[in-house]
Amino acid sequence: MENRPLEYDYTVAKMFMLTTVLLGIVGMLVGVILAWEMAFPAVNTIAGSGLAEYTNFSRLRPLHTDAVIFGFTFSGIWATWYYVGQRVLKVSMAESKFLMFLGKLHFGLYLLVVVSVVVSLLLGITTSKEYAEFEWPIDIAVVVVWVIWGMSIFGLIGIRREKSLYISIWYYIATFLGIAMLYLFNNMEIPTYFASGGIGAWYHSVSMYSGTNDALVQWWYGHNAVAFGFTVPIVAMIYYFLPKESGQAVYSYKLSLLAFWGLMFVYLWAGGHHLLFSTVPDWMQTMGSVFSVVLILPSWGSAINMLLTMKGEWQQVAASPLIKFMILASTFYMFSTLEGPIQAIKSVNALAHFTDWIVGHVHDGVLGWVAFMIMAALFHMAPRVFKREIYSKSLMNTQFWIQTLGVVLYFTSMWIAGITQGMMWRAHDEFGNLAYSFIDTVAVLHPYFTIRAVGGTLYLLGMFLFAYNMYKTMTSGRRVEESELQSASPMGA
């Protein structure tokens, strides 16, 4: 029946691969600058005091988080969607002009949003809500991009040849729905220009929620945006790329079913743990903590499933840097999904909240799990998309070890910094007075901030190696035949 030379069409996947690499470098570069600014405040005026407004820590900080989340991670999610989606549904985008058009439109509008976000954040146009800083005009554009992605998902599913949706597809669908709901609710805002009859800045808006309510909605969003941006879609990737690269079917399909539904139910409940000891009702705080702890089980279901997939095939980890990336990623996944619930325990949270430990937790998740998995996915895709061998295996290995060292330096220094500062804030002397002034607790962090900055710089260095390797693969890797692409990716020396 299928004798015609039909091929998967990776045009859109390639576009998003490009932005994954570029925005990854941008986001992490800004992060490294921020890290050095905290260690050495003189870096704040690195471009001269005239430009200090734009190189200052506080102005760059939202740019860092948004570039990594909405730039790097979402580009990665879309790059893999436009690759994995076609393959497991066994339908090519070339079969539908409409879907092809949607894909390109998706990318074009996304670029437009990226540019406007960068400009507006540098100018200080922000709503101040973390990971939802964009003002209403950009919010509308984001919603449009999102709807287009939804059409592209369900469009592709609509013309599929394979009756059953593979595990990865469940997770992509959940990402789409979850973020859509969260983003819409959290960004309910009223443009003041129109409400006041044309006074002031046209782009300014005021939140529909006030005070504690606003905080509730924001952290319900903030926590779950992490769930549906940093967990769910990355799990989608590993369920496809690890079995495919290793040539082993997923260890247990049944376990993946359980893990999926368990995760869906539990994750959303856990948002309340960001509000411990604030003014929300007691029972809700306890509920948030308890569910965060229960959350370990389904999250680990997926990670254990991945590790068991490698059962009897562990020599591959030593042999292939690509498998190394994925195994380290799932290890970090287990690790940070254990760390998160621990931080949600009330007494631990009392110590950890507002400190660098939280920053450390976010980064072992994002650098160790999210970024490693996305890079592994791109490495796996590159030979298939460009029909060329990965340029250098030894460069991959080097990158792996440099970045692993970077992550380890990062989270260990932030743990120590966070716990030290938390302990110092609460220390009392024998007369019941506070033992330390606030600045004492800042000065003590200097060595840890420096170590963190070094760790971050190493990771960024690894990103440059990654970009170089991808570029060389695209332009000068050895051309490969279809038959070499069955499971393990071909790699040059």
Partner: protein
Amino acid sequence: MDISTFQAYAYFFFTAFMVVVLYSYIYHLYSSQWKGKRDYEKYGDLALHDEIDDHPIEKISENDEKK
């Protein structure tokens, strides 16, 4: 009954309900695989045999006709 009491009740009953559902589902999955009623694990091959000219694990048209 005020709203927060209602919340608390809704929360507890729903949690209990989910636990029952999830565990009976685990039982259902493993027992139907064990009795040979259905082979779930073949769907793991969806990722491995994903070339466009590979045979679908379950063709979409066939199943529709069976219905």
